[in-house]
């Protein structure tokens, strides 16, 4: 009940969360080195000193941001469910659609890139655990479909990287380099999936797509 009472008020937790979200958008906007603790405090509406009451160092605050987010697990679950139906089109549309959905928050992409570039060990926490799993999962799906005779014989990992590359790069252009989209979101996803699946499918399998039952 002490815990419940604490949870009911918890100004501390609120402060902590608002500090984390303020810091996240600032780090994403200007990088770790480019952001000062004073700015973070101002954005969260508290004094600079309070930042150091909650987080011993600036870097600890950075780590807390990454620890808070688990961005890909729900997508992985969704993909896994669709993947069982062997509807390739839906699988790839789901992935592409998730990665470049219209109102997506660019914060995490920027933070990921900054982490990787600024090169400290935090980038691994971010990238290593989440994203590599994702590439491997898609590569596994492609490998299965090759074995089933639906896809052409092609390196599954390269194919997975190629597809995610297409999509992520598009997001990169749009969100980081601010290149305009130039056509509706649905068309972008459709074009990418179409383009990619045509290259992946065996000519014969393309006619009756998704219904091959070869084991």
């Amino acid at each position: 009940m002490k815990a419940a009472a604490a949870l009911a008020r918890t100004p501390g937790r609120d402060r902590q969360a608002s500090l984390i979200s303020s810091a996240a958008s600032l780090f994403a906007a200007k990088g770790f080195n480019g952001t000062t603790t004073k700015e973070i405090a101002k954005a969260a509406g508290v004094s600079e000193a309070l930042v150091f009451k909650y987080f011993p160092t600036k870097r600890a605050l950075y780590a807390a941001i990454l620890a808070e987010k688990a961005p890909l697990s729900e997508l992985l679950n969704a993909v896994e469910a669709v993947a069982r139906t062997r509807d390739d089109h839906r699988v790839f549309t789901l992935i592409a659609g998730y990665r470049i959905r219209p109102g997506a928050d660019p914060t995490m992409l920027r933070l990921l890139l900054f982490s990787a570039l600024e090169g400290h060990e935090l980038a691994d926490m971010f990238f290593g655990k989440q994203h590599r799993v994702f590439y491997d999962y898609l590569a596994g799906y492609i490998r299965t479909r090759i074995d089933e005779g639906a896809f052409r014989r092609i390196d599954p990992l390269l194919a997975a990287r190629a597809f995610i590359g297409m999509v992520v790069h598009h997001r990169l252009l749009h969100e980081i380099f601010e290149v305009p989209l130039h056509c509706p979101h649905k068309d972008i996803v459709r074009t990418y999936v179409e383009l990619f699946l045509k290259g992946l499918q065996r000519p014969a399998a393309a006619k009756k797509r998704g219904l091959t039952r070869v084991r």
Copy 2:
């Protein structure tokens, strides 16, 4: 002859060049904000004060780095020559091969990303003039091939972005996120080009330029 004598020695030019190259690798490694002028001076083997004899500000030194490099023009010329032959395979192989050639220096890619993320106007100098032209050029080629009936009807700009995305993303994974290549460079390029061209070409176009049923 005074100028000729000055050019014969030119310790100034040497210093300037070594400052630029020292700064380039430091900025690429740690970002603009993450690099101090003291470090740059030490890397170039001079005093910090001398840096400011050659460049009025740290940012001017950054600008000098970008001004020094013109990384894509020679590729564009090569592609333009091959493009006239209408050998799609060679065109795409040339682009992919250039972008992910084995010993490529990751400095400029890192610098480009840092510039874009740190968000100052210098990123535009870098990205705007060189890379956008490149996307447009490839999109133009794809549009021509669609008109000629060799490629399927697909958004040319999206297709261009998709292909460059595949390749650039691979480089990104390798150089920035240090993901191992896992197969020979030639195989990577071949797989990407094969995958992409299969998706782009009209099914019948490979054999003859006759009419094909659409969808």
